[in-house]
């Protein structure tokens, strides 16, 4: 069995750039410890988590052409799974992970069934509406903090061998999951399932006439995408030891879309690259002024206007 789903020359500049990029990300905790700036680990962990969510979104947005403006819903759900289970004394990380995948996958499947009855701008609006619905649900659940959110006492317990109590450990768990996601996405995109999704984005009508029940594949892809975002949410809740309805805000959905577009839609590494650049940009701007959104807002408009193939596309 070949390990690469497509012919890749490990000596090409692009491959080297990607490997260096991933290597740098892997070395962040080491560098941070050396510089005694533990803040970097927290920041980088947040970048990786959002990158993971962006990769999940990219499956349906970049490759599938489905503009979902409600993916923050699954990030929030994953976070709430950790929050609520911890609240009731269930601290096992494995249970958290399983419950996240199951719940987010299921919710994504069901909302996908409804949303995929429409297309175009109606689809965008409906995904947004469903995310908002869960936002209100979160706000009204007073016993879990409502609008103020819920503190999480301890991080998910994955057993003595896989403790994520330290930020570095959590970082490496996130990094490992991210690498796994990148690899599996890469395989997915070049396999039959990926071709159906990409074909549907390219020419939906032809796909149907060729004999593909396209909606079935889109719904399943949507569910997988939701589960991935859920895992990101689970990690986010662990990082901040906190969860609130803000994790489901549509602002976050929009930011995820910006990351995917900025980094490169329909590329494997693009969303991660987009997450890195976007969060760093946000951080740097926030350091200069508290009104950084006055700058970031127009930058987003410019990205929408000019980012044809994204940053990763510049590498090709």
């Amino acid at each position: 069995m070949t390990w690469f789903p497509e012919p890749v020359s490990l000596r090409s500049p692009r491959a080297i750039a990607v490997m260096l990029f991933l290597l740098c990300l892997g070395l962040v905790p080491v560098v941070a410890a050396a510089l005694e700036q533990s803040f970097y680990v927290t920041l980088a962990a947040r970048i990786l988590i959002l990158g993971l969510a962006a990769c999940g979104l990219n499956l349906v947005l970049g490759y599938g052409g489905l503009v979902s403006f409600g993916h923050s819903l699954y990030v929030g759900l994953g976070a709430y799974v950790v929050g609520i289970l911890s609240f009731h004394g269930i601290g096992s990380g494995w249970v958290h992970l399983g419950a996240t995948i199951a719940l987010c996958g299921l919710v994504a499947f069901l909302t996908g069934l409804v949303c995929l009855r429409t297309s175009g701008m109606a689809f965008i609006m409906i995904t947004l509406a469903f995310a908002q619905m869960f936002f209100f649900l979160g706000v009204s659940l007073k016993q879990y903090g409502g609008d103020d959110g819920l503190q999480i006492a301890t991080r998910s317990d994955f057993g003595a061998w896989l403790s994520i109590e330290t930020n570095s450990a959590l970082y490496y768990l996130t990094f490992a999951l991210l690498l796994l996601t990148l690899y599996l996405s890469w395989r997915f995109v070049h396999a039959r399932f990926g071709r159906v999704l990409r074909g549907a984005k390219s020419n939906l009508q032809r796909m149907r006439v060729l004999g593909f029940p396209v909606a079935r594949y889109q719904v399943v892809a949507y569910a997988v995408s939701g589960a991935l975002c859920g895992i990101a949410g689970m990690l986010l809740a662990n990082l901040t030891r906190f969860v609130s309805p803000a994790y489901m805000s549509w602002t976050l959905s929009g930011e995820l879309i910006v990351m995917v577009m900025l980094g490169g839609m329909a590329t494997i590494v693009g969303p991660l690259l987009g997450a890195v650049v976007f969060v760093l940009l946000e951080t740097v701007l926030a350091a200069y002024t508290q009104h950084w959104m006055l700058v970031l807002g127009p930058i987003i408009v410019l990205i929408a206007r000019f980012a044809k193939r994204g940053l990763y596309g510049l590498l090709k």
């Binding site: 070949t2 395989r187 039959r192 032809r206 006439v209 060729l210 004999g211 029940p213």
Partner: protein, 250 residues
């Protein structure tokens, strides 16, 4: 013996009657050409047969089974295949990938998320065969977006053929082709005669009279004549429809 038939097929677009209680049938193994002046409803017929357009009234039957309400993808799996008048391919995929995708629909489910599709013999072998049949084999690695117009039309046919359909609906396959390309395509379709049942919508009369076993003439959504090529060629009705009253009788 009928492979595909319609009874009373009716389709309206606002005030325009595109199909007027149309009765049509295709017999196994034949090449049944559908001709008629522009706006006669030929493409509308094909769209309804393949399931892209829902008729307002009437019944469509395939192999004795009512498929009027069946979605396109199910009809494709029953053995109906179609090529488009305005090329409808996947520009970002290579020629081989285009045809392999067409083959994929008929070879099991597509939930596979691990094995690279390019390594699947079950997909690439029939795809290559199909490309060879239409004469596009050397261009298999070219992106569909970079193919010339005539090559794209060939790709269209290859995609329609790879699933070994029971009935091939060809919507003006010669559209926009130069003389040499048209001749080549006619030769290809001639080779396929007998192996595939074809419904051929065309304006190119040379192609029609070379290939057709039967010809139906559509005018304003109705079939005004149907029969062997010589009958149609001699028919006054048909001449009237094409040439107008003044020139019909001569």
């Amino acid at each position: 013996m009928t492979l595909l038939s319609t009874r009373g097929l009716t389709k309206r677009f606002g005030g325009l009657l595109a199909s007027d209680a149309l009765d049509f049938e295709a017999r196994p193994g034949e090449v049944h050409a559908v001709i008629g002046p522009n706006g006669a409803g030929k493409t509308t017929l094909v769209n309804q047969l393949i399931g892209e357009l829902a008729p307002d009234a009437g019944v469509i039957e395939f192999e004795g089974r009512d498929i009027t309400r069946l979605p396109s993808w199910r009809r494709a799996l029953l053995g109906l295949s179609r090529s488009y008048q305005i090329t409808s391919i996947f520009p970002e995929f290579t020629a081989l990938e285009n045809v392999a995708l067409a083959a994929q629909a008929h070879r099991g489910h597509s939930f596979g998320a691990w094995r690279p599709a390019r390594q699947e013999e079950a997909l690439t072998r029939p795809a290559l065969q199909s490309l060879e049949e239409v004469g596009l084999a050397e261009r298999q690695g070219a992106l569909a977006a970079q193919l010339a117009h005539g090559e794209r039309r060939q790709l269209e046919i290859a995609m329609a053929l790879v699933s070994r359909p029971k009935l091939l609906l060809l919507d003006e396959p010669m559209a926009g082709m130069g003389r040499h390309e048209s001749e080549r395509l006619v030769k290809l379709l001639d080779r396929l005669k007998g192996r595939y049942t074809m419904v051929l919508v065309e304006h190119d009369m040379d192609a029609v009279f070379t290939l057709a076993d039967r010809i139906s003439v559509l005018v304003y959504g109705r079939c005004i004549a149907s029969g062997a090529p010589q009958e149609i060629r001699a028919s006054v009705e048909v001449r009237r429809a094409y040439l107008g009253e003044r020139y019909a009788a001569h």
